[in-house]
Each structure stands twice: as C-alpha cells, then as structure tokens.
C-alpha cells in the first residue's frame, strides 16, 4: 500500500509538470491552431535565466524569479513577432516548421551563450521533503503541485470571469468573428504567446531543481507534455491538466509494475487505444467540417 501511495505521489508530481507545459501547448493551439514545437525551449530558457540570476549573480530568489518571468514574457512577444506573426495567414504546416526552427535556434543559442554544462538550481525550500507515514513527500514536487493548482484556478477565473479572458476565448474560437466584434485579434494572440512563454517558464523553473538545468531539458519535457496534450485533447485547458496527471500516473505505475525501459511507451499505447476505440469520448473536440 505504501508502495502505491509513493508511486501515486510521484506520478502526480511528474504529471503536474507535464500539465503545466501542456497548458502552454493548449493555449497556443487554441489561439492559432498550431502546435508550438518550441514550447519546451521556453522551459529551458527560463531555467537558464534563473541559473544566471540566482546562482551566477547571487541575486535573491524572488528577484531572479521575477526577472526570469519578465524575460520569458519578452521572449514570448519576440517569438510571436518573429516566428508566428509573418505566417499567420498560412496553413498550419509552415508555422510548425517555423517553430521547429525556433526550437533549434533557442536551444543552440543558449548552448553558444552559456556552454554545455548541466547546472544545478537550488530548490526553493531548504528541506528536501518529509515522511508522512511510509511515504516520502518531496517539497519541490509539493510546490509544483500547488503552483499547478493555483495556476489552473487562476486560468479558470481569468478566462471565465474577466473581459480580456472572454476576448481571448472569442479569439480562439473564431478569429474572423472576433475581429468583426472589434476585438484586437493580433493583440490577443500576442498575449497568448506571452502567457504561454511565461507558463512554460514557470514550469521550467519549478522543475529545474528536480531534473537539473540542461540544454536538453526542454525537448525531454516537451515531448511528454505533448503526449499529455494528446491524451487530454487539444481542445481545452482541463484536458491538458487531466492528460498531464494521467500521463504521470500511467507511466509511473507502468514502470513499477510492467517495465521500466518501456516506460515512455505506455502513454502512447494508451493514447492510441483511446483514439482507436473512442475518438469522440474523453477528447472534447469533434472533427467535422460543415458543408
């Protein structure tokens, strides 16, 4: 039993990370109908910014955090202007390639600027964690879970109860209609990219003390978050959360009870099974073109 609880905790912790990054995927997808292949690089860049500010320059953690987040907002804006905006009238394929180019660019620019050494970002809390009965609770994972919960709540409030959130929703549902209603569509998309970059950044900073800071961290997390998005469906925010948590739990238990080396396959097998058996089920969005 303690074994199961321990696995469950780890699964939820890892899942929360996937969920955070997946959230960024979903937001951009809803606004632009495009999968952003550079989403993982947002996390990587933010983690490196934290290392620069908090470790190399020894600035206070909170200040470093604010600066890193500010940097991510700026990066999100530049990303929109340079990678998405010139292609906004194109189909999704050129945009995908553009984001792939951006991901190569960001990863290798960071490498050129900072060098290849993996870095350590100290955790927010001194205590590594504590035992509750037989289960060890890692404080950093507790923090990740808490922040994810808060961000999800914030997002819900933001989208459902603020005017700007509603405008964002309108933009993601029908850009032409939104433009007719006088919503500044370009501005809304800009906001989406900024927010997604910040979300990805927060995920990267949170996960850095657990997975270390390396050039590869973005790609590794993003692939899983991508799978989480698939399981949850690209359609909505709750899907990303459910997908992320489900993926974390599935792979942790799969690794424990079936096979460690095939850990990464479980998520995809479950996913294919879902798509084959019930494409309309868990996944909110239906694919139907109006005649």
């Amino acid at each position: 039993m303690d074994l199961i609880l321990q696995l469950l905790f780890t699964g939820i912790g890892i899942g929360a990370v996937y969920a955070l990054v997946a959230l960024g995927f979903v937001l951009i997808f809803r606004a632009t109908n495009v999968v952003n292949f550079a989403q993982g690089e947002f996390s990587m860049v933010a983690a490196f910014l934290m290392v620069v500010f908090a470790v190399d320059l020894q600035w206070p953690y909170w200040l470093s955090f604010l600066l890193a987040i500010g940097g991510m907002a700026l990066l999100g804006a530049l990303f929109n202007l340079g990678v998405y905006y010139p292609l906004r009238h194109r189909t999704y394929l050129p945009v995908i390639i553009s984001t792939i180019g951006a991901s190569i660019f960001l990863a290798n620019t960071t490498l050129a600027l900072y060098g290849p050494q993996p870095q350590v970002l100290p955790p927010v809390f001194e205590t590594q964690g504590f035992l509750v009965g037989p289960v060890f609770l890692d404080t950093q994972y507790l923090l990740i879970i808490a922040v994810t919960a808060v961000l999800v709540a914030f997002q819900y409030w933001f989208f459902e109860h603020t005017l700007i959130g509603k405008k964002l929703q309108a933009t993601s549902q029908d850009k032409e209609m939104a433009a007719l209603l006088g919503i500044p569509v370009a501005g809304m998309i800009m906001l989406t990219f900024v927010y997604s970059a910040v979300l990805g950044g927060i995920a990267g900073i949170l996960v850095a003390p657990v997975l270390f800071v390396s050039i590869q961290m973005g790609a590794t997390i993003a692939l899983k978050a991508f799978a989480a998005t698939i399981i949850g469906g690209f359609g909505d925010v709750t899907g990303a959360i459910i997908g992320g948590l489900a993926l974390g739990i599935i792979e942790t238990f799969g690794a424990a009870y079936i096979s460690v080396p095939y850990k990464d396959a479980f998520a995809f097998i479950v996913l294919v099974a879902f798509l084959a058996l019930r494409p309309q089920g868990i996944f909110g969005e239906r694919i139907a073109e109006k005649a």
Partner: protein
Amino acid sequence: MRTTRRVFLKSAATVAAAGVVAPSIIRPASAQGGTVRIGMVLPVTGPGADAGRFALNGAKIALEAVNKAGGVLGKPMELVTEDDQTTNPGAVLAFSKLASQPDLVAFLGSIRSTQNHAMAPDILKTGKPVAFGGTDPVLTQLGNPWLFRFRPNDSFSARVIAEYGVSTLAKKKWAIIHSTDAFGTSGAKALTEALGKAGATVALDQGYTNQSQDFTPVVLAIRQSGADVIGSYFTFENDLGIFARQLRQLGVQAPWVGSASIVNVTALKLAGPSLYNTYGVADYAEESSDAARNFGKAYRAVMKLAPDNQSSWTFDAVTVLAKAINAAGKTDPKAIREALLAIRGHEGAEGTYNFDQNGDGLHGYNVVRNDKGNIVFDKRIDFYKA
C-alpha cells in the same frame, strides 16, 4: 514585402556562396606541411557537448606538453576537430570529413561506444590508427586493427565492481541498475557474469532508458528486492543525479559501487550530498599514481576544475600517439600501429599502458570513494599479466 524578400534572398545567396567557398579557404591554410596533424571527433553540440569540452581540454593539455618537449618528428603537433553532434550519423560524417584530409596521421575517436561502432567501417577503410575511449569490450574484438582503446574496457570494470563489492565490502546480494544503451547493457552483462564467478547473487537487474525524468519505480524495486549492495552503469550524469537523490530520499542506504560516471565532475556537482559515501570504479583517480597527480595539477591550473576520466583519456591518447609516432620515426600508419602495440609500461594519467594484440591499453581500474564530495583513492585492481 517585395523588397524585404529580395534582400533576404540576396543575403541567403551570399551565405550559401560563402558556405561553398569557406571550406576551400580553410583547406589551404590547414594543409601546410609544417605540422604533424591528428584529427579528433568530439561532441560540441547535443547532450554530450559537456563531455566534449572536457575531452578537448585534456587533449590540448597533452598537446601543449608534447610541443613543449619538441613535438613529434621535430615538428609541432596539431589537433583538428570535428563536431559529432552526439549522434551516430554525426560521428560518421565528422570522422569521414577528417579522414578525407590525407595529411592527418591518426585520430581520436569517441568516448561513446555506439559512435565508435558507427565509425568502425570508415575507420577500417581509412586505415589509420584511432584512439578511442568507449568501453564496450566488443569494440576491440571486431578484428579492426586500427582501433586502440585508451580506457580499460567494461569487462574489467565489471570484475572490479564485483571483486570490490564481494571481497572488500562483503556484500553478496546485488541490485544492478543500468542504462539500456550499448554501454549500460554490456556493462550489466559483464557484471552479472563477474558476480556469478564471485559467488554472489543478482537480486535485481533493472535497465532504464536514457533521459528518464523519474526513478521512483526503480528505487522502490531495489527496496523490495532486499539487495544489500547496488552496482550501476549510468551513461548520463543527470540520470545518475536524479536516481541518487531519489535513492536517498526513499531511504535506501545500501552501499553503491558505480561505474566511472559516478565520480565524474558533473555528477558530483549535480547530485551533491546524495552521492556521499558511494564507491566508483574510476579509470582516472587523481591519487592513484604520480602520472595521475601530475595531470591533475596541470588540468587544475588550466581549468580551475577537478579533472576526471573524460579529459584524462584524451590526455593519454595524445601523449601516447606522439610517443608512438616518435618511436616509429615516420607517420606511416602501419609503423604507428606497430609502435602503439609495442608500448609497454607507459605511465599515463589513467594507469599503466600495456597494449595487447586487440588494442586494449589498460587492464585495470581504480576504486575510489566519495568522501563528502571529495574523491578519495582507495585501491587499484589491475588484471594485466606481462
């Protein structure tokens, strides 16, 4: 839009033209006959970029020493590098690019076994000696006469791990944790064999894929297996770091004897206290010999960083290649090969080099202990019989 497009196309054309021209500009500059040149394949990009930097530094320190001592055949020695992007095709392209320059007399290959496997056919075709650092025992049994290993292979590391754990630590119930890549699987196989011979049992043999984000299931499996000692083959330091931390968090206190990566600089930095009191079989241990101490001193002076095996093997490789070329008296590949095979008792940073007919230079390992972050030399176990 039209003008920007034209400007872009023009500059793209310029870049393309520059790309075509640039190599030809570089070639004449490098083709001077005033130096003896050796090629080096190393990761500058990709997950191995870190290791590549260490490797390059080790080689450069040796190069400087060689040239200070008069170079080879009266000429300065020169190093030409290519990026392998930490991938197999990248390694093949990097090597063939180097091999296409006829004035390179010998090469430094990769520390990764799979890359050496990938390059092996081209190495055979090129027919010049290649010093490499991958530890998969099979590499020197391919019947490829041009491969020379400058680190002890994993059949030795496994025997040392087993011998140390069983005789010195007196532990008989083992858990083996290994990466599922070439290095990890061959190491685990050798360890299982060595443990069988030493009369110990394997309670758990657990592989994992590289770049795992979580090891909780692995640690719990170790806990449940009741193993009283852990043997490990980790490829990447961040995997090792995550595993080490979770192992301690989940309360596993069994002694842990790991392959070389457990004591390398990056792992120590990433894992910190989680690795205290672990044991590593290290091909490089600073306190193991005078040669190792001297290398350590030189390395610290340049890098302000503790040395490890990623730089020591390239240091030895460059030193030994220079020695062999000088001994051969010419840069003919066959002569260099004969000179390399004739090397006996060379005191290198990694240990004493005695090349056997397969091209294996080293036949033993050091056992070191992590004492609060400092690597303390324990003993050397060598299987070489002259």
